[in-house]
């Protein structure tokens, strides 16, 4: 499984979401609320073995933005 597939899987499972996760933004769907956001952060940290900075957690505003943020932790999503 590529890291992109793993990344997508975390989103799909966390939100129980079948649609296009690539387009997702924080609060763009009901499922991605503040509680789910922290859950998502925890699951991504687990999956990619990183510990994210508070500022990065707050700025993690979308699926695409998240890819940029994870690259700061040397995680290549592709």
């Amino acid at each position: 499984m590529s890291t992109l597939d793993k990344y997508r899987k975390v989103f799909k499972e966390c939100f129980q979401y079948d649609g296009d996760v690539d387009a997702l933004e924080y609060q763009s769907i009901e499922e991605w609320d503040s509680v789910a956001h922290m859950q998502l952060m925890a699951e991504l940290e687990d999956e990619f073995k990183v510990e994210m900075d508070i500022d990065d957690i707050i700025d993690f505003s979308s699926f695409k933005e998240g890819i940029k943020i994870l690259s700061k932790y040397d995680v290549e999503i592709a």
Partner: protein, 455 residues
């Protein structure tokens, strides 16, 4: 409780713009027709200037108002419209409902619908009714608490008294207006002539932190999950020199976190108030004086000024907490026919919570009498949840139990439908699946009258 009238100092701040009380009345002045003492307004509120202005004007003009969340399910809203027959509905313009209105007006992102009302002629709305607040979450049992003007004044006055809210205080909105705790912050800050910074953004967004950093916020309030989020976001590692008060209600905070916040508060000269309340009591029932929290870490505290709390039990120390005070609501409403009713409680409320009082007069809660739990501080009726699932999945026999933030669904069926139930419940009740546990069981025990037996 006599309120010192400092309303003239009240300010709302939104997007760095400050609104005085006069500005607030100016905002509502084009909509005078909405405010008619005899008719009901339904407001699907958000923490923005328009919602709050409408609410304050409704109170001032003694026009009864029902507060709902702005993300309400349109089907639920339609049921409420049919049951309560308001003359006005104010709702976000992205919500589409099919109901024949008499006229429609638009203001920014809101639609204001007017409906023909010829239904109240024989049953006028009680003149003491100020606000209708929802009780249970989204399980379709739309039961509302009837809160009077006196309830609001009394609870606000009491809260201002023990929290010592004054004109120099500034807080930021973290809770919905339709939630009694959130509304009590608006009511108390309004009457204290303090300042309320408005935001719809959650604490997990950049905007919230910008507000914290660029305003002299003196107080922050939240329910347990908000403090859990704040903790994960490193709030208790930072220092906000202007912060002098932290208030918590909406359920029991985990002891470790409570202790952490207490340590943080002591180190930063902050008063940390742990509180307890219910919508049926307008909002607040009791609080722990900050200086006593270390010794009373699991307590819900002492009754707020002007009220009494008792344990209703003849023989044992433990029993149901019963409240007496002017903050006790008038009763419930299921439809428009209930709106003419007066005070059915006469200042006395059986809370449905079980507990005891210690030698110092501090109260503790040990259990809950009624069949509901709270998920992220939102009340969820276990019986209604069972019915909801059984209606959706024919032939299924369901048992719902659990504790706060943990719903357990057990069901009896030939086939395994864990996944389908999970998807349905999460979507319908709008909870995250981490709060859910589902399992198939062989049989549900029933007593001799055929009622399900819960352990």
């Amino acid at each position: 409780m006599i309120l010192n009238n400092n309303i003239s100092s009240f300010k709302l701040i939104e997007n760095d713009q400050s609104y005085s009380i006069d500005d607030i009345w100016k905002i509502t002045s084009p909509f005078e027709y909405i405010f008619n003492k005899q008719e009901l307004i339904i407001l699907c509120a958000d923490n923005d200037i328009f919602s709050i202005s409408i609410y304050l004007k409704a109170l001032k003009s003694r026009t009864p108002i029902m507060l709902l969340t702005n993300d309400i399910d349109p089907i639920e809203l339609l049921k409420i419209l049919e049951n309560f027959r308001p003359s006005i509905l104010i709702v976000n313009n992205t919500l589409l409902i099919e109901a024949s209105y008499r006229s429609k007006e638009n203001y920014e992102n809101y639609n204001i619908f007017s409906y023909a009302t010829d239904q109240h002629s024989s049953l006028p709305i009680n003149k003491n009714l100020a606000v209708l607040l929802p009780t249970s979450g989204t399980t379709g049992s739309a039961k509302f608490v009837r809160i009077s003007h006196q309830n609001i004044q009394s609870n606000a006055g009491s809260i201002i008294n023990y929290l010592k809210i004054n004109t120099k205080d500034m807080t930021v909105t973290t809770l919905p207006m339709s939630y009694s705790f959130g509304l009590s912050i608006i009511n108390s800050y309004f009457n204290a002539g303090a300042t309320l910074v408005l935001t719809n953004k959650s604490i997990v967004s950049r905007d919230f932190w910008t507000i914290m950093e660029s305003n002299k916020i003196t107080s922050i309030s939240g329910v347990p999950y908000i403090f859990e989020l704040l903790d994960k976001l490193g709030f208790f590692k930072k220092c906000y020199p202007s912060l002098s008060t932290i208030t918590q209600a909406g359920g029991r905070l985990k002891r470790d976190l409570k202790k952490k916040i207490l340590e943080y508060s002591i180190a930063n000269n902050i008063d940390f108030f742990v509180m307890y309340g219910q919508t049926e009591a307008t909002a607040r029932i009791s609080y722990v004086p900050p200086s006593e929290l270390a010794n009373k870490i699991d307590s819900i505290g002492i009754p707020i000024p002007g009220t009494k709390l008792n344990i209703d039990s003849k023989y044992l120390n433990e029993g149901e907490l019963v409240l007496e005070g002017d903050n006790v609501s008038m009763g419930y409403a299921l439809d428009f026919k209930d709106l003419h009713k007066g005070d059915e409680n006469n200042g006395r409320l059986k809370t449905g919570d079980i507990g005891y009082k210690d030698a110092d007069g501090y109260f503790y809660i040990t259990g809950r009498k009624s069949r509901f739990i709270k998920i992220n501080s939102v009340r969820l009726s276990l019986d209604d949840t069972e019915k909801l699932i059984e209606n959706e999945f024919e032939g299924l026999d369901v048992l719902c139990t659990g504790m706060d933030d943990n719903l357990l669904i057990e069901y009896v069926d030939k086939i395994n439908c864990d996944e389908e139930i999970k998807i349905f419940v999460c979507k319908k009740i709008k909870i995250h699946h981490k709060h859910l546990k589902i399992s198939k069981i062989k049989k549900i025990l029933r007593n001799s009258s055929g009622k399900k037996m819960y352990n």
